[in-house]
């Protein structure tokens, strides 16, 4: 085969390849986007039992939280989970400083101000020590389920090392402390802005 014919073959192959990829990409982009949303929401929402709510919490974000800067953490957003129109839970995204970087937690709080679940969304803690906080399901974070701002008391919202009532993640005092403070902050915020968050007062 002569030179020009083989060049034509290569060019043709490149054209066919590029257009096939382009067409496939174009045709499946919507499905991929919806799959991505589904996966994302599943990853976020397994923080609480699925039977609890019947809406799409991620499509009801709580934008513009008032005074989102708290004592130890900052709230970057939230979602509202409802069941037959009634708010059953509020999910708050909380960012605080861990040992090695930002620690982002998702705290699910029910309408009575009790923790439904806590999940780590982002962490840069030491692998093998504080990094355990990123595992899911997470036995340490499960210890917070059912706790509220007032039970335990403010003094109890600390590590046993600090005369509180929570165990720490072995070898990760700073990470554990950051998480406890962030969860307590979120609960305090919920209590103070309860009506607004539940969407009943305003």
């Amino acid at each position: 085969m002569n030179r020009s014919a083989s060049v034509v073959t290569v060019v043709l192959l490149a054209l066919v390849g590029a257009s096939a990829t382009y067409v496939l990409q174009r045709s499946s982009a919507p499905q991929i986007a919806s799959e991505q949303r589904l996966l994302e929401s599943r990853q976020l929402l397994d923080v609480m039992p699925a039977a609890l709510y019947d809406n799409q919490p991620l499509e009801q974000p709580l934008t513009k939280l008032t005074e989102p800067v708290l004592r130890h953490s900052t709230l970057s957003g939230g979602y509202r989970a409802t069941r037959s129109g009634q708010t059953v839970a509020v999910l708050l995204r909380s960012r605080s400083e861990g040992y090695a970087g930002t620690l982002e937690l998702l705290v699910a709080i029910d309408a009575n101000g009790r923790v439904l679940g806590v999940k780590t969304l982002e962490q840069r803690e030491t692998p093998g020590l504080g990094g355990h906080i990123g595992e899911w399901p997470n036995a340490w974070l499960q210890a917070f389920i059912g706790k509220s701002r007032t039970g335990p008391t403010d003094a109890g919202w600390a590590l046993k090392k600090d005369q509180g009532q929570f165990d720490q993640i072995a070898g990760a005092t700073i990470t554990s402390r950051a998480a406890i403070n962030a969860i307590h902050d979120a609960l305090r915020y919920f209590d103070e802005h309860r009506a607004l968050l539940l969407g009943t007062g305003s």
Binding site: M1, T9, V10, V16, G17, T21, L24, S28, I32, L39
Partner: protein, 190 residues
């Protein structure tokens, strides 16, 4: 040639076999892409030579891998996200295997080699999942949690160094096995 190819095959073998389902996914994808690549390259190989053949194989490998990646994103997104890196690498596998003439061998030989490699992938993936997570078959289906054998596993084996250790142990077992067999044969000689 052998060394480059086996070193390159080591990458998915160690990196993408965290669980049995991940290993199965990457094995199937490798098999499918390499298969289609081999079929498409065979008419081109006779017509093109040198740089042009390499260019053609590069384009073809890139096309096939991108299409496979898009298909995986569409139907198996959660698996695709954990193995994204290794899916992209399949293109490199195609080009390197082509460059070293692996597809020019008889079909039976390459088929046997592929089957062996696939079996090794699945064995490593299965063992890593059993030792690392204490379960087998997690993530194969949405409604099945997998066969739970132990409540907790050795974390090391879920990481790449653990896979390396496991591969070393498997090789040691194989060597011990072949050596024992040869010793028995020798002692039974008249």
């Amino acid at each position: 040639m052998k060394r480059t190819v086996s070193l390159l095959m080591l990458v998915p073998l160690l990196g993408a076999t965290q669980t049995f389902s991940a290993a199965l996914g990457i094995t199937l994808m490798l098999g499918a892409v390499l298969g289609v690549f081999a079929v498409c390259m065979s008419p081109l190989r006779e017509r093109l030579t040198g740089t042009r053949a390499l260019l053609a194989s590069l384009t073809l490998a890139a096309t096939l891998t991108s299409c496979a990646d898009i298909v995986a994103q569409r139907w198996l997104l959660s698996w695709q996200q954990t193995s994204e890196l290794y899916i992209g690498l399949i293109a490199l596998h195609c080009v390197v295997l082509e460059y070293h003439g692996a597809f020019r061998e008889p079909v039976a030989v390459s088929f046997k080699r592929c089957a062996l490699f696939g079996a090794l992938m699945l064995v490593v993936g299965g063992l890593r999942e059993i030792i690392g997570y204490g379960s087998l078959g997690r993530g194969l289906s949405e409604h099945w949690q997998g066969l739970v054998l132990f409540p907790e596993g050795l974390h090391l084996f879920t990481l790449v160094p653990g896979a390396f250790v496991l591969l070393g142990l498997l090789l040691a077992v194989r060597q011990a096995w072949t050596r024992r067999n040869s010793v028995i044969k020798e002692t039974h000689r008249p």
